[in-house]
């Protein structure tokens, strides 16, 4: 492993920037993401920061069952995130549509149809610890040795 790569690995393991987007959820999962920020779960102690600016983000948390308004917009948010990047589906909605996925409903799940999803955290809503564990276990898989894996 090159020296530069090991510096990048160290820096990336301590600074994961998260952006989240609600593509039509009931807000329950967003509240759990918010709870991760609060002192009880305190994600910043793990080096995870929420910015909500896709251009700075490494991880995109997607909540919601994908309403038609997001058809062109979610893809453009995903394209704005610089590599290496990863998207995580939070809650049942982006996985299956949850209770909204009924005949005649204006939702188009799963979100994996629209952007590549690397991990899914089921639950309605999932516990903050479940979301936190997903981010923490996925981040090294994606960001560690990223440049070396590319070449």
């Amino acid at each position: 492993m090159s020296f530069l790569q090991s510096i990048k690995n160290t820096v990336r393991s301590k600074s994961i920037h998260v952006s989240y987007v609600n593509v039509g959820s009931c807000n329950g999962c967003d509240i759990e993401v918010l709870a991760m920020l609060a002192p009880r779960y305190d994600i910043e102690q793990y080096g995870i920061y929420v910015h909500n600016n896709p251009r700075e983000a490494d991880v995109l948390l997607v909540t919601g069952a994908f309403t038609p308004q997001w058809e062109d917009k979610l893809k453009s948010i995903w394209d704005k995130i610089p590599e290496p990047k990863v998207a995580i589906a939070i809650g049942n909605c982006p996985i299956s549509g949850c209770v909204f996925n009924r005949r005649g409903a204006y939702v188009d799940p799963p979100v994996a149809k629209h952007i590549p999803i690397a991990a899914e955290v089921p639950g309605c809503p999932p516990r903050p610890t479940e979301i936190l564990n997903a981010v923490l276990s996925l981040a090294p898989l994606v960001f560690k040795d990223y440049e070396e894996k590319q070449s």
Partner: protein, 203 residues
């Protein structure tokens, strides 16, 4: 100003402060045992009454599947919202989650249910799919074949006199198979579920 600045500098230069600042993390938060997680099997025998599927509010969350000789409910994470209604509705105690079963026992709570079937005759094309698919009809009249016409009046509904007639609404188990089988969304099953509380036994 100068005193407080030097105070801070001295404080932050202490080894313990630096160690705490850089390395101490709060212990991972454990899931408490009373957390109402995805329902698990208790090992009791399932009688295939389908009450759990009837009460489940979420599409595709629970299915009762045949395993070797017996039936067992299967929960699908990604659909299931962990509401615990199936645990409460099951008359046999096949499922458990958190402390639902305990509190149900001590508080003597439960559910009663009835079902109302309605057919929109402007949408219904008298294909009989619903009456052929209905699992109760299959038991009442195994002969009830395609087009749903027959002679047996013990079935829940069948095509009679050029119309889909509801004959025995009270036999319906609320499984909604008919709704899924109808190509025109003409038949609707309304579940009327009431929470009950009895004061006998328990605590």
């Amino acid at each position: 100003m100068a005193t407080s600045l030097s105070y801070y500098l001295r404080e932050m230069a202490r080894g313990e402060w630096l160690r705490n600042f850089l390395f101490v993390k709060t212990a991972p938060y454990e899931t408490p045992p009373h957390f109402r997680d995805y329902p698990r099997l208790t090992g009791k025998e399932c009688t295939h009454c389908l009450a759990c599927m009837m009460i489940c509010p979420t599409p595709g969350a629970i299915e009762v599947l045949k395993e070797d000789e017996g039936w067992n409910p299967v929960i699908y994470p990604g659909h299931c919202i962990r509401c615990g209604l199936c645990v409460e509705a099951c008359p046999e105690g096949v499922l458990m989650s958190g402390r639902i079963l305990e509190s149900q026992f001590f508080e003597n709570t439960g559910y009663t249910w009835t079902f109302h079937l309605t057919v929109d005759s402007t949408l219904c094309m008298r294909c009989g799919n619903c009456s052929v698919a209905c699992p109760v009809n299959k038991e009442e009249d195994p002969q009830l074949a395609a087009t749903g016409t027959g002679e047996n009046d013990e079935v829940i509904m069948r095509v009679k006199g050029g119309e889909l007639r509801i004959l025995h609404e009270e036999k319906c188990t609320g499984c909604k198979t008919c709704e899924e089988a109808c190509p025109n969304s003409a038949i609707r099953v309304a579940r009327v579920i009431e929470a009950i509380h009895t004061a006998e036994e328990g605590g």
